[in-house]
């Protein structure tokens, strides 16, 4: 119908039909105004602050200092540099581990659950989705209590029931990092499982039947029929979830508070990621200048990840369809 109409009309007629509804801008204005005031202006203000020495000492009379803050953060010979680089490395490691393990666990469970002989799969799925449904604010704070070295029930279980030594979850840097990754995989795998399950169920059954007729083994079916579809559907969601974890302030700040403290760096703890570093710089130390500089560097990294995503997955291409 539409095609007929389109081929039937001359370019002039089509142009006339594509008239602009100016009133559309009225409908858009509330969204545009709030996004401008609450997203765009703060971003530019952050960039501006990062070039000044705006902090508690210079709250009313701050000056433009150029790239001073960035030099302090990035120069390996500067005393502040052990603030940024180690935090950046840990941020990347954490985001990779949290996303990767969540995906692997979620995918494995989805494959196990996608068994047509398992009648009660819905029950299992409902139980496994619970960690996702509870706000991370509550789960991360609960993990903080559960992982308490002395009194926490996790250590109580490992020590009292399995006889393992008490693990210093929140007071040792390495174990603190392990704890953060465990808690985030716990909170993150249900989402991956749901996505993978959706992908698995969207595979047409005739592909499996064709593979069966060709005499493919179970592993071959998985390798050549299941995985390509799952990969195609879950990859566009994997990179955003990496960039989400990259900025997942709640996940580290509410669990360890960035601790344990760093001996050679008074500002940041050993499990702080860049997002919580920017937060602490602002709120605990009133160093708005350094907080903003960290945020700008983080902006650039997030932009790079988003660009990668656009480049390799073509997500959002269909937004305007």
């Amino acid at each position: 119908m539409a095609a007929v109409a389109q081929t039937g009309t001359t370019p002039v007629a089509r142009k006339r039909r594509r008239k602009v509804d100016w009133v559309a801008y009225g409908y858009l204005s509330p969204a545009l105004v709030t996004i401008c005031v609450l997203s765009i202006v703060p971003i530019f203000y952050t960039i501006y602050i990062s070039f000044t020495n705006f902090n508690q000492m210079h709250f009313t009379s701050y000056q433009f200092v150029g790239l001073q803050n960035y030099k302090e953060l990035l120069n390996p010979h500067d005393p502040l540099s052990n603030l940024f680089i180690p935090t950046l490395i840990w941020t990347i490691v954490y985001a990779l581990c949290a996303t990767g393990f969540s995906y692997l666990v979620g995918l494995a469970l989805a494959v196990l659950l996608n068994n047509k002989h398992m009648r009660e799969a819905t029950v299992y799925r409902t139980l496994l989705i619970i960690p996702w449904a509870v706000p991370t604010l509550i789960t991360m704070l609960a993990w903080q209590g559960l992982l308490n070295d002395q009194y926490g029930q996790i250590n109580g279980l490992l020590h009292g029931v399995f006889g393992l030594p008490r693990i210093p979850w929140l007071t040792n840097a390495t174990w603190g990092r392990v704890a953060i990754i465990i808690a985030n995989v716990w909170a993150g795998f249900p989402y991956m499982m749901t996505v993978c399950l959706g992908a698995l169920q969207s595979i047409p059954t005739d592909q499996y039947e064709a593979a069966e007729i060709d005499g493919a083994t179970w592993t071959q079916v998985f390798r050549y029929v299941t995985m390509p579809s799952v990969w195609r559907i879950s990859l566009p969601l994997l990179i955003p979830s990496f960039s989400f974890n990259f900025n997942n302030f709640n996940a580290t700040y509410l669990l360890t508070g960035g601790g344990p403290p760093n001996s050679n760096n008074p500002f940041l703890g050993q499990t702080d990621i860049l997002a919580s570093a920017a937060y602490k710089m602002t709120l605990s130390f009133n160093r708005y200048d350094l907080g903003s500089a960290i945020a700008v560097l983080l902006f650039i990294l997030v932009a790079f990840i988003s660009w990668l995503q656009m480049r390799y997955t073509g997500a959002f291409q269909e937004v305007d369809s």
Binding site: W22, A24, Y27, A31, Q144, Y288, S292
Partner: protein, 296 residues
């Protein structure tokens, strides 16, 4: 039930009925899968069970690791309500959540309507630009927000917190636009022929039809507001202004976590309704999300 029904109808339709019995290999694989899933479920649920038991354990100590509380009482719950603080937190969170959710649904509906049904310059790439912009999370401009609010003397007001949370979410607009696109064009055209103006098309035709998705967005926004800590912890500083998140943070954080029992009770009381609302809303959403990515 559904599976049985499907296989029965299949058997009726196809000339060669499929064998229903399981081969030994399949049976073995089924049971191995079951055992693995049971193990994972136990590991996943144990932490939650610990929180549950702690909320009924009056001794407020963690030392006893029992899978069932020895002397279960409601002492923690009573303590939580006696101070009255918990109700204040819930009230504050409700004020914030409802205000933000109403405003957000309205803003989202207006712009989704524009993107879906109206023609204007910037329609093609506008939404993509907004989505890209919002990939930068608000945490990154925390220094800008905090110093601006401090300069304007707006720290520690519930109102300024609501204001900060009001920003439209491009993701919600995208969700609702997708839903509106699926509403048959003929309805809109019929309204146009009947001489409806744009506002009538929006209020009378599109809005009632996309109400289910709008309700989902409304509830997800409320759940989001209850789970927000970043700005709440930044802006709200006096206990009478605490939202649920800030209040619970102050219950648990600290070296010795001495309010563990009360925290567990608060966590349980807030997590159960929030999780239920989230799960219900998500059920509608996940189908849409996966369908959207299949298309691409």
């Amino acid at each position: 039930m559904a599976v049985t029904h499907r296989s029965l109808s299949q058997a009726g339709a196809s000339p060669r009925p499929r064998k229903r019995g399981l081969q030994p290999g399949q049976l073995l694989r089924l049971w191995i899968s079951r055992v693995i899933i049971w193990a994972v479920i136990i590991v996943v649920l144990i932490p939650m069970w610990f929180v549950f038991t702690a909320s009924f354990d009056p001794s407020n100590s963690y030392i006893s690791v029992s899978f069932f509380p020895a002397h279960a009482t409601f002492a923690n719950y009573r303590a939580l309500f006696q101070g009255g603080q918990f109700l204040v937190w819930v009230r504050n969170s409700l004020i914030v959540g409802l205000t933000v959710a109403i405003a957000q649904s309205f803003i989202t509906a207006l712009s989704a309507f524009a993107f879906s049904k109206l023609r204007f310059y910037g329609r093609k790439y506008g939404l993509m630009v907004l989505l890209l912009l919002q990939m930068f999370p608000n945490i990154l401009s925390i220094a800008a927000f905090y110093s601006a609010l401090a300069k304007l003397n707006m720290i520690d007001y519930l109102g300024s917190y609501i204001l900060v949370m009001l920003g439209a979410s491009a993701f919600n607009v995208w969700l609702l636009k997708g839903f509106m696109d699926s509403i048959p064009k003929e309805l809109d055209e019929a309204a146009l022929i009947d001489g409806a103006n744009t506002w009538q098309r929006f209020i009378r035709v599109q809005l009632p039809l996309c109400l289910p998705m709008l309700v989902v967005i409304f509830f997800l926004t409320i759940v989001g507001a209850f789970g927000e800590y970043l700005f709440a912890g930044t802006i709200l500083q006096s206990p009478s202004n605490y939202t649920l998140g800030v209040g619970m943070y102050n219950l648990i954080s600290g070296q010795f976590a001495k309010n563990w029992g009360e925290f567990a009770a608060a966590a349980l009381l807030s997590a159960v309704p929030l999780a239920a609302v989230f799960a219900l809303a998500q059920k509608y959403l996940t189908t849409g999300l996966v369908a959207g990515s299949v298309k691409g």
